[in-house]
Symmetry: C2
Subunit: 382 residues, 2 copies
């Protein structure tokens, strides 16, 4: 099989300048030859996940975004609010690659049997810097795709599937028996519904719009609460009484929702417990915040007793905690159910250049449920 190593790759980069703006551009960099245990993958599909946007856009104010450069080498700049700049000390004036995960074809391989084995195969990849035409990686970062899977099928094999599985794993490991999920009509939320239906886990979905409720009911969701409904708190408490869910995963972060979930869990617990305790119920209630769709402050009034916890949840530390063997088990399930439980849907496929057009940025930065972009660097003009 040919071992046709390209010389350069076209790389999407995000640069936060100490002058208070972010610059996103495409630069050509050398790839280097694969070491013994490395391969070079031509990236053909890489999703724009909510978890990519922080690194890509650096919390910039997109109303100030300006397009310069050429059609082949577009450059976008935007101002970063002063408050957000304070968090960027460690990345100042460094040009950073972007893109957590992707999939493509192995076009060159090092001398090891494991690397040679992958030559010509379609693989999915994790490890950052996937918004690029070619990516050199260790074979351990690659997962061969099933024969009938395209690169687009395999592009989202890690972040959403493992996050959704991480939620039900965390639920079990921490002694809960049912769970709550917010922004529940997202790609991730739909996967979580499919997992829970398949595994017989009760899931309370919280959405923000009636059409999102409709979407989830159509894929078989039983409990869907619309936070825009005047009966939201009552609906949520009823669903919590019915399911006994005492752990929630919240993608919103800002605003009052995380606290409302704890308050509703407490109301459901009090319905089941006898007698008054001035410190509230003894039922332990957990909300994990894993996203920040609302960047505003989190606010809650602690009307949920003393047995509660709110905290951050992140995929990589979770996988480190459960260890290699359990991580492998989760990845094998993703591979086995790639075209069913873990199928992703994209509204638009774009080249690297198209991903830097202002109207595209405005669309994918909105985090709208159902709006999901896929970058195909292989379709990008060199």
């Amino acid at each position: 099989m040919s071992n046709d190593n390209p010389t350069n790759t076209l790389d999407l980069r995000s640069l936060v300048k100490s002058t208070g703006e972010v610059e996103v551009s495409l630069i050509e960099t050398p790839i280097g030859s694969p070491e013994e245990n490395e391969v070079v993958v031509q990236i053909e599909a890489s999703p724009i996940n909510p978890s990519d946007l922080g690194l890509l856009l650096a919390a910039a104010d997109l109303s100030t975004a300006q397009a310069t450069g050429t059609p082949e080498r577009p450059v976008v700049t935007a101002k970063i609010p002063e408050a957000a700049m304070r968090g960027f000390g460690a990345r100042l004036d460094q040009s950073l690659p972007v893109g957590n995960e992707g999939a493509g074809t192995v076009v060159a391989a090092g001398s090891s049997p494991a690397a040679q084995d992958l030559l010509g195969k379609k693989v999915s990849l994790l490890g950052g810097g996937m918004y690029t035409t070619y990516r050199r990686v260790n074979v351990a970062a690659c997962m061969p795709l099933p024969d009938d899977a395209s690169a687009a099928d395999g592009a989202s094999s890690y972040v959403n599937p493992l996050t959704a599985l991480g939620m039900t794993e965390t639920m079990r490991r921490e002694g809960h028996t049912a769970l709550v999920h917010t922004a529940a009509a997202s790609n991730l939320g739909q996967m979580l519904n499919k997992i829970c239906i398949k595994d017989g886990i009760a899931l309370v979905n919280i959405v923000r719009k009636p059409e999102q409720e409709k979407l989830l009911r159509e894929i078989g969701a039983t409990h869907v609460c619309d936070s825009s409904s005047p009966t939201f708190m009552k609906d949520l408490i009823d669903a919590l009484v019915e399911t006994g869910a005492t752990i929630a995963f919240d993608a919103i972060g800002g605003g009052k929702l995380a606290g409302q979930i704890l308050t509703a869990m407490e109301a459901a617990a009090v319905q089941k417990e006898d007698g008054y305790s001035r410190y509230g119920s003894s039922t332990f209630k957990q909300v994990y915040i894993y996203g920040g769709l609302n960047r505003g402050p989190t606010e809650f009034n602690r009307a949920f007793g003393m047995s509660w916890s709110m905290g951050g949840w992140l995929l990589m530390p979770f996988l480190q905690k459960i260890g290699d063997e359990d991580t492998r088990r989760l990845k094998e399930r993703v591979s086995a159910e790639l075209k069913t439980t873990f199928a992703s849907h994209y509204t638009k496929e774009v080249s690297l250049q198209e991903a830097l057009q202002l109207d595209a940025i405005a669309a994918y930065a909105k985090h709208s449920t159902g709006e999901k972009y896929l970058i195909n660097p292989a379709s990008s003009a060199g």
Copy 2:
């Protein structure tokens, strides 16, 4: 030794009425004879702790407080804000005894040797309903006081000492090596300083006023940060860098302080870690909220990465978690150091009747640092 069982006790009661007000009064109730393993204690000292106020005053609006009744049987009523009423469903229209802990003399005892052994002795007690002239309890709820200790010395043997010890225990058990405490000039905070100095634990004290900083420095505190100072955040970050504290116990609850502590811990962690991570430092940061001196909403802007947790902390569930043997170990330390490490100071000693005077209520309900009331039911007119 005489076994002189009184017939009745004068009991302080708090009653939340469904009409939306709290009524605090004194009622006479029969004590009953002690069972085999029970004793009757004449209560001579019981502190008004912040943890008693929720049950006693039911979050009532004290500007609406009215005094009625007679000098011997005063009655206080006050309106409860509608929002607070929602949490009181389970205690509606039930007259509840108040007072977590106290101390006094055993005046009657059941037939068991353990009960008979206590007759005539001074003991401290835990178990609620201590704002009363006589209390019948199981011997297991009693701890004999050292010979040189008065009832006032022993009145606060449980809540503050075990809470302070519970904080350093929790710190160790959860893998932290130094801690932060807020409202740190309180009786509890002073105890915590004495424990930490004795045990060589680095403690970062957060106070709200310069005179509180002075008080803590005088008892030997090294790290004291005044949240009213314009350099507060810088001072706090410096103290956290120096001590490495990654766990905090917060008595305030409402407002922005809990979030500021996490933000400062993150800034201290980032100073010690290399390289940029879009998800913040990998240092796990914990804030436990154990009080509610500020009843307003808790608010934070999540400017502290993803490795954090905020949650409720309560003494009784903590003691249940560590088990009988470790609880006994903590109690023995309290007993051994009752007049040194765990000495409490009171600004005023009042009878049950005096505790129901409007000016007294206004004073002890303020939660002012240094203002601490002790009820002596034995001095109460019958």
